[in-house]
Symmetry: C2
Subunit: 482 residues, 2 copies
């Protein structure tokens, strides 16, 4: 526990109205969107400016408490879960769009801006902010940058990293640093910006984010193809890429997911088939017609049972709804939804789909599989019940096997959710022991007292291990009071 | 000087045939393409495999000598110039293309492969490796990655960083680490790969490089527009970008450069005008026609005196030759050519062009200005004579003013050449003192004995300052023997 006199010092930095140590607030900020993890912070603070954050970090280094930065808490790897002796630093009030620069095609935002609003703002002047994580309607851009969030359009347009031009941030020791800017080329010194993107709140706290925008594509075409075999749907993906077409979207849904989506959204999907692919191409009219035709013929060659081509914007939206509602649809089935993001090189997708199916059967779990097939980025989603340890144990065993299979196929343990707490045990297998060692060197040199979001991604000091959050079931602190 | 017994140990690691301490070799590896800098190494080694490099780095840490890695030596910021007590580690023999993976659109190469060969290999199967630094015909990909090299196609296609998917590298302490891979999405742990790109040989030595390829554009159109005012040519660039068109190339040449190019290549250019823009658009036929027409009308509106549109592939090549030969054409004029790469946000281009003109007039230097206008990345090139100190002094003063102007306009000291030795004195102004401090923390934590290419980008320990290379004139060591 942080000592009361230290909490008072923190309160005096941010002011009474921006500080809370009430039970209600501690509960609200004890979890994020990651299942199974929860821990109460000692206090919750809402800093108003960079100077306050800087002072908090300096105090944290003096008094040795931990600071856990947090946006909307939509993360899926436990990156914003409190740790022992920690305060949560909430950035959601930093929600201003600071500048839209039409002549340089950039937008500058505060970290608490909801991601979708950035693209809405860009669209007003014919520009486009492509990254679209599933949580786009409620996640904040600071979290997107911290996790290097992906989304449905990654295949053609890349991920958050590809749009971050500049960052203003507070270091773990309280300095303000800037990296990058409006120059589209800049090689002055080390590229600190790109190691900050995806650093999961462990290397700094963003206070200003400069993003690249691109001209908005004017035409697109959406197709939906159904298959009798998941493996064949995977082969279609490989063949499209090998044909030198880069669609703006190739999304996959397996049978379980199709059924749940149909139950949830009543789109008239054929629920008897094994897999569907949602494919979108964009570009000039000529280009999308040519590419859509080529994709159509590849789907046919691979025995697609049914191929729908949206004839109107509204119909395209309806088809895309099938994919966009996958997570919500699956989440209704059982009390606990464990959404993962094992990723493999695109050419290994058929093998990975087959392996997941085998693991699901052998471990006897209920799992819906969907995801960004064009990126080899799958979201195997286990529908389970956290109150039942044997269920959770089965799920964990299945995911262990899934991640190990991904690594064996040259893949990775996380394509877009981050390592956080959930996947730190797999990190060494994914990046090698020397790779892990050199990541730790960066962290230790920037955060010598290990006060900024410690224990996430990896554990620096053994003392932290006991301090990590556990299953919610283990948290009894308030249970009798509520 | 490195002691003879240590040199013997180095020789025994790489073998007699891969080690040289002859005067001839020391001279050959004493300089790169950066003017004014030269220093002799104590030996030159040509390692054959990763294990030898690892052993050399471990020995360097034990015996405290420095290792300067080097490819073709085409760098323009002195990144591969030897330092005190150093050996040069030459990677040009690592010139194999290891794999071309058509299903994942990747190519794996050794660091000594000449950049142009990568695109030639990709082209055979309809793919494209876009980064095209001016030295494309002789520079090596390892150096491109180390410097994050740019080129003419940066505007639409980005720079080297945007194509590096994975790296195998030897750390300063001799460990082998891997970062990235064929997964198009991967957020497992810190993004070490992207801090390695542009680290100028100070954080590791690449032994394997995995690059992304993209489908090759099938159509392009090339325009050449002449202007009576450099500022108006700069305004054309801003207006094209603001019109939401991203050409594959917008290159600028000023009057001095046009004249030199015409003298050199006899292309029939109008040498009486102040500036020319070379603009290329690519994409579908429909798209390039529409965009070329729009660009044509913007040029006309901004009083272009003459606009040429290439009607054939051969004519397009002829127009592009005007730009591609700019550096060679300027380099013929005087004994010493100092090519710089001050960069500003695109919208600041007219202001920057005006400022450079003013500085050139006031400092009374001979300067040709050209560059990647679409990126705000200019190459003001001073034509001078290194044997004349007063000339060099004037050039240095002019460049000081040019870099400070770039920084004042929100620009940077280097868009694509790197900081190296030439620009380290400007780095703090460009990235801030806290930013510089955090870069040094990374270096110190990875290279605690400061043995890998020390003194480049920044100086870690004061002792190094005296050890840095000086003007060639100061180097007398071999002068009497040659």
């Amino acid at each position: 526990m942080i000592e009361p006199k230290v909490l008072s010092k923190i309160e005096s930095i941010v002011g009474k109205k921006n500080f809370s140590a009430t039970k209600e607030d501690k509960i609200c900020y004890s979890y994020d969107a990651t299942p199974l993890l929860q821990k109460y912070p000692d206090a919750v603070v809402f800093p108003e400016d960079a100077e306050q954050i800087s002072k908090i970090m300096k105090l944290a280094n003096q008094e040795k408490f931990s600071v856990v930065p947090r946006g909307a808490g939509s993360g899926l790897s436990g990156g914003s879960i409190p740790v022992d002796d920690s305060i949560v630093l909430v950035m959601t009030r930093w929600n201003k769009i600071l500048e839209l620069d039409e002549s340089n095609l950039t937008i500058t935002v505060q970290p608490g801006v909801i991601t979708e609003l950035i693209d809405i703002e860009a669209e007003k002047i014919g520009l486009f902010y492509p990254p679209d994580p599933g949580s786009i309607k409620f996640c904040t851009i600071g979290g997107n940058v911290a996790e290097n969030a992906g989304g449905l359009r990654g295949l053609k347009y890349g991920v958050t990293k590809n749009y971050v031009l500049g960052l203003e941030m507070i270091t773990p020791t309280g300095e303000v640093i800037y990296s990058g800017g409006k120059n589209v080329k800049d090689v002055a010194g080390y590229n600190l910006r790109d190691i900050m993107v995806g650093s999961e709140g462990t290397l700094g706290i963003f206070t200003k984010i400069l993003l690249k925008l691109i001209p908005r594509p004017t035409n697109s075409k959406t197709l939906l193809a159904f298959f009798n075999s998941t493996i064949q749907s995977g082969e279609v993906v490989s063949e499209i890429i090998a044909s030198k077409i880069i669609p703006s979207m190739i999304e996959f849904l397996d049978k379980t997911t199709i059924k749940c989506v149909e139950d949830y959204a009543h789109l008239g999907l054929n629920t008897n088939l094994e897999a569907l692919l949602l494919i979108e191409v964009d570009g000039s009219k000529e280009e999308i017609d040519r590419n859509a035709e080529l994709i159509h013929s590849i789907c046919k060659k691979k025995n697609a049972v049914e191929i729908l081509v949206a004839q109107t914007e509204a119909e395209a939206l309806r088809l895309k709804t099938a994919r966009r509602s996958a997570f919500s649809a699956l989440a209704r089935v059982k009390p606990t939804t464990i959404l993962e993001d094992a990723t493999v090189p695109r050419s290994k997708l058929p093998e990975m789909l087959e392996a997941i199916q085998k693991i699901v059967n052998e471990e006897n779990i209920l799992l819906g599989n969907f995801g960004h097939a064009g990126d080899g980025n799958l979201h195997p989603t286990c529908l389970t019940d956290e109150r039942d340890y044997s269920e959770i144990h089965k799920a964990e065993k299945a995911f262990d096997r899934i991640f190990n299979t991904a690594i064996k196929l040259g893949g990775t343990i996380t394509g877009e959710h981050g390592t956080g707490l959930s996947k730190s045990k797999f990190l060494e297998a994914a990046v090698g022991s020397a790779g892990l060692e050199f990541m730790k060197k960066v962290k230790s040199s920037w955060d010598p007292n290990n006060v900024l979001n410690p224990g996430k991604i990896f554990t620096l000091k053994p003392k932290c291990e006991g301090a990590l959050p556990k299953f919610k079931n283990d948290i009894k602190e308030f249970s009798t009071n509520l």
